[in-house]
Symmetry: C2
Subunit: 188 residues, 2 copies
C-alpha cells in the first residue's frame, strides 16, 4: 500500500548543472539547475527550466544560447554557491574561483573547471507556469581529457556528477555500477 | 584544455524511469525512459520524451496520461527489460513479474513494486524531432511507507533509484551524501 504525498516535484534522480549565460552587459553568469534533462536524440537537445525571476532567464531569452557545465562532486560547494546568490549583483565566477570561457559555438560561457560542458542553442521556449523551459540544441560536448575512457567517451565515474534529491534538498554522489543497459534485462 | 566529443546527448546524471500507460485495448504497458526531468514547480510538471516509434507514444497521445514509476536498484533487471521488448506483442508486466495498478487520478497504470510513483496528466505535447516531449502535470506522488523518512518524505537512500549513464549505457546506483543544497555553498 502506497502513501499519497501530494502533487509535488519529488522524483529521483535529478541533476545538478550550472547553466551559463551572458547578461545584457556581456558579463558571464551562471546558475545551478536541477530541473532539466535530455529531451531529444535527433537533433540532440537538452531542456532546462528557469524561473522568470532569475537573472539568467532574461539572458537566455536575449542571447538564445546557454551552456550546461557538469560539476564534479569535488565542486559541490562551488555549484551550490551558484544557487545561493544572484548574478544581478555578484560576479559568481570570481567569488567561486571559477573561470568563464566563451564558447566558440554559442553566445554563452562555460565553466573551465567543470569536467564536462555542453554548448546549446535555444530552439524553443515554453512558458509552463512558474518555470519556463528552454530547449537547447546541443552543438557540442566538451570534456577534460582526464574524464575520458579508453574509447574517448566520458566516464561517469571520472566525472563524478552531483545528484540532487528534491524534498530533503541534499546532494549525492554516484554509486556503483549496476550493469549494462539493454543487457541486464535479458535475464528476464 | 577540453576535447570536443561532438553534438551528442552526453550529460550526467540521467534518470531510469518506467513510463506507464494503457494501450487502445486497455492493456497496461510500460517503457523505460532516461530522457526526462522535472520542468516546472507550479504547476508541478515532469517531462518525458518518447520516440514516435514506441508503442507507448500512441497511448500517451490518446489517453493524455502517464505514470512514472521509479525503480530501485534492486529492480535493475526488470527496469532494463522494459526497454528491451515492445508492448505491441509482449505483456511486459507479466513477463517481469510486476503488477500494474490503475491510477485513481489519471488513465494510466503504475508499477506496484516500484517504491515511488508519480501520476501525470498530459498538459503539453512538443514534437522536437526524433523524440516528442510530453509535459505531464504531477497530480500525486505515492511512495511505499518503507522509503519514507521520519518527516514522511521520500528518502533517496531508501528508494535507491537507478542512474543511467549515456554513452557507455551503464546503470549506476546513488552514492554518498555530499551535503545540503542552499547550505554547503555558504562556505564560499
Amino acid at each position: 500500500m502506497k502513501r499519497s504525498i501530494g502533487a509535488k516535484t519529488l522524483v529521483y534522480p535529478t541533476p545538478t548543472w550550472i547553466v551559463g549565460s551572458y547578461d545584457a552587459q556581456g558579463r558571464p553568469n551562471g546558475m545551478v539547475a536541477a530541473w532539466g534533462g535530455i529531451c531529444c536524440s535527433d537533433p540532440p537537445c537538452l531542456a532546462v527550466s528557469l524561473r522568470k525571476a532569475t537573472y539568467s532567464y532574461g539572458s537566455l531569452v536575449e542571447r538564445k544560447a546557454f551552456t550546461v557545465s557538469v560539476p564534479s562532486q569535488r565542486q559541490v560547494k562551488e555549484a551550490d554557491y551558484f544557487g545561493l546568490v544572484s548574478g544581478r549583483d555578484t560576479d559568481k565566477f570570481a567569488a567561486a574561483g571559477w573561470t568563464p570561457i566563451r564558447s566558440d559555438l554559442v553566445d554563452a560561457p562555460f565553466v573551465q573547471e567543470c569536467p564536462l560542458v555542453l554548448e546549446c542553442k535555444v530552439l524553443q521556449i515554453y512558458d509552463l507556469g512558474l518555470h519556463t523551459q528552454f530547449v537547447g540544441q546541443i552543438l557540442d560536448v566538451k570534456a577534460d581529457e582526464a574524464v575520458l575512457d579508453v574509447a574517448g567517451m566520458p566516464d561517469i565515474l571520472k566525472i563524478l556528477p552531483i545528484i540532487f534529491s528534491p524534498g530533503n534538498r541534499v546532494y549525492y554522489g554516484v554509486g556503483e555500477s549496476l550493469g549494462h543497459a539493454f543487457a541486464v534485462g535479458k535475464e528476464i
